[in-house]
């Protein structure tokens, strides 16, 4: 998020797109509802489904799945056409405006109506609301990013914010809602193939040298970025990747096209799973290392508003499990001190992998990472700090891009609308959409072990539009079979009027009804995020 949870209620207009916030980020949805009900903000909701937030929306746009860029290009067109843009902001703080203007010159609301199915007057109304607001903020989640052109989707939203100058003030900005508790932190900490901590690029020689020196390394950090999880799985099948070390993840359930992952993990030469449960991935591993739950460990998580917060140990370590930090340090010592069989290439004991505690690890991170350089455990207690926080006396940054953008000027991106990788057709006439439920989490590993939560929602259902269901003579509770080009899943139907015609909705919380057997392997060319929200399927009564 460029902005903070605390300033959501200060927006005049909120545009929420591709986020069922009530279910996926419940406490943030409270702030949004407060903005509407208590502070009179207007809400533009963009979602094909009639989710709970629709009750709070001033305007609910229901686009055909995968047509976001067309919609936002047309909103930009209407904003320019009607002189609702912020010319001063465009002049002083942005670049590439002319190319952008040229690129969208034919993207009229009427053109977008034909593509998205949203009446052109509604598109103009949305453009008016967003364009004329004193402060307008945009929120999105996986509905925008889990697409074969997710990066385009995000950029089309950024264009709108640039056009109207909605940056750097309370109640504005671009606010992606991060899914898992520490996705933000995993990215910040270099858990990506192309950057080390704080988004320092591996392609930058100065960056590599800094880390190599600090780590006292005997090997060189390669200048070439590594490969992503989707490519790693493909790499196993191609024979390029021989070993995977997986910590705290279950790609067998969460990856798109799980059949493909199963194939890869079956074939892999060496697989390590470090986790608190023996999940589907662990069952295929050669070694399983028991880590601990959050309640046993010390460390930090970084939330969606870039706030680094302390995690404090409340319980002793479970049985003979070990703190995850200790497991990694132990591995580091064994790899570098040549315990076991040695390799000539790794003979120098590099840094000694003996940290006093988690805060000592944090201090090393801070010393190498400008965006968090000013943070220490002492300062993080009690309320955390939002990065960037470059010095020990810096108060942290609740709102980004106040005076200028990180790169200097904000850059408009000319975008061409592209259809999703797979549209429904005669053979597969339905669109499969996937997402989360409030009561469960991700692969269900944690929540399904909670008696209460599992009692409220004990099984995965396949939601289907009630009129479609009636045509097929299906009632709630009947078994239906969903088939895509990649797999088949059978489950109980749940009729609902909240879905548009010809759309079905499934979650990926339930192993028994694994939606990701059906989803496609198409990914965004840049972000490599898979298309989870649009897969063509056929639906039959069993």
């Amino acid at each position: 998020m460029t902005n903070s949870i605390a300033d959501i209620h200060l927006a005049d207009v909120l545009m929420i797109t591709g986020s069922n916030t009530t279910e996926a980020h419940p406490v943030i949805s409270l702030e949004m509802k407060k903005a509407v009900r208590q502070h009179g903000a207007k809400l533009i909701l963009v979602d094909p489904r009639e989710i709970e937030l629709a009750e709070f929306a001033t305007l609910h746009l229901r686009p055909r799945s995968g047509t976001d860029v067309a919609l936002y290009n047309a909103m930009a067109h209407a904003i320019l056409e009607n002189a609702w843009a912020n010319d001063e902001f465009i002049k002083t703080r942005t670049e590439n405006f002319d190319a952008f203007k040229e690129a969208i010159k034919d993207c009229t609301p009427q053109w977008a109506e034909d593509i998205t199915g949203i009446p052109s007057e509604m598109i103009v109304e949305a453009a008016h609301m967003y364009g004329q607001a004193r402060s307008a903020s945009i929120f999105w989640a996986m509905g925008i990013t889990q697409s074969s052109h997710g990066v385009d989707n995000v950029q089309s939203l950024a264009n709108l914010a640039l056009l109207t100058g909605n940056f750097g003030r309370p109640g504005t900005g671009l606010n992606p809602l991060r899914g898992q508790n520490n996705v933000q932190g995993a990215c910040d900490m270099g858990g990506l193939p192309n950057v080390i901590t704080g988004y320092q690029a591996v392609t930058d020689e100065a960056v590599r040298t800094k880390f190599e020196n600090a780590w006292g390394m005997s090997v060189k950090i390669p200048a070439k970025p590594g490969i992503t999880v989707t490519e790693l799985m493909q790499g196993v099948l191609d024979g390029r990747v021989k070993a995977l070390y997986i910590m705290g993840e279950n790609p067998m359930l969460s990856d798109p096209n799980t059949n493909h992952v199963a194939e890869a993990l079956n074939e892999i030469e060496f697989l390590v799973s470090q986790d608190i449960f023996l999940n589907e991935t662990g069952q295929m591993a050669h070694v399983v290392l028991p880590g601990v739950s959050f309640a046993e460990k010390e460390g930090t998580y970084t939330n969606t508003e870039r706030r680094v917060q302390l995690v404090r140990p409340a319980l002793p370590t479970h049985a003979d499990a070990k703190l995850d930090l200790d497991i990694i340090c132990d591995l580091g010592r064994r790899l570098t001190n040549s315990n076991g069989k040695t390799s000539d290439a790794v003979i120098h004991p590099v840094s000694d992998w003996n940290y006093k505690d988690a805060s000592a690890v944090w201090d090393e991170i801070a010393s190498l990472t400008p965006i968090v350089a000013g943070m220490s455990y002492q300062r993080l207690n009690p309320n955390g700090l939002q990065w960037p926080c470059p010095t020990a006396d810096h108060p942290g940054t609740p709102i980004l891009h106040k005076e200028k953008f990180t790169r200097g000027l904000g850059k408009f991106t000319p975008l061409v609308f592209r259809e999703p990788a797979e549209n429904p057709d005669e053979e597969y006439p339905f669109v499969l959409n996937t997402g989360r439920l409030l009561q469960h989490w991700h692969g269900g590993t944690l929540t399904r072990r909670s008696e209460g939560l599992d009692w409220v929602v004990p099984e995965g259902e396949i939601q289907i539009n009630d009129e479609d269901a009636q045509e097929m003579n299906v009632s709630s509770g009947d078994l239906i079979r969903v088939t895509s080009r990649r797999g088949v899943v059978t489950g109980k139907a749940k009729l609902t009027s909240k879905l548009p015609r010809r759309m079905i909705f499934m979650t990926f919380h339930f192993v028994e009804v694994p939606a990701n057997k059906l989803t496609g392997a198409a990914v965004d060319p840049i972000a490599k995020i898979p298309e989870y929200k649009v897969s063509a399927v056929k639906v039959e009564r069993v």
Partner: protein, 137 residues
């Protein structure tokens, strides 16, 4: 009424909102969860997962010891055995096929410190940038 042995303030393990929690502990069991009203992200609010979703901590099927595959079956092993095997195999594979034949998946559920150190192993010891996580998912 149960009187807690201690209350520990920490951060919710579920979603990216990052709500602040008070774990109420009695005899090493989390029996109640509340949130302080001045918590920066959530002002004392919690959702159903953050308030009640903690049975997993005490679940019977939590892993209690390392496991190793022998004769195609996962069997209990000592830490020493398991860790040595991991280190040995990773080095062997690296030497035989090169560093880029190994991939590391860090975790959107693990702490910053854990993620940092695992990517440090990948980049600083094995010598590969093949580091990713499943959160784009």
């Amino acid at each position: 009424m149960i009187k807690e042995d201690k209350v520990v303030t920490t951060t919710c393990p579920y979603c990216g909102v990052g709500c602040m929690l008070n774990l109420h502990i009695k005899e090493n069991v989390v029996y109640k969860v509340t949130s302080p009203f001045d918590a920066p992200a959530n002002k004392g609010n919690l959702c159903v997962k953050g308030r009640f979703g903690y049975d997993f901590i005490h679940a019977k099927d939590r892993l209690t010891q390392p496991l190793m595959r022998k004769n195609n079956e996962l069997v209990p092993a000592t830490w020493d055995e398991a860790m040595n095997h991991v280190a040995e195999r990773l080095l062997e594979i690296r030497d035989k096929y090169g560093p880029d034949s190994i991939g590391f998946l860090v975790s959107a559920k693990c702490t910053n410190e854990e993620n940092y150190l695992l990517q440090k192993i990948a980049r600083g010891v094995i010598g590969t940038n093949n580091v990713d996580h499943c959160a784009r998912l």
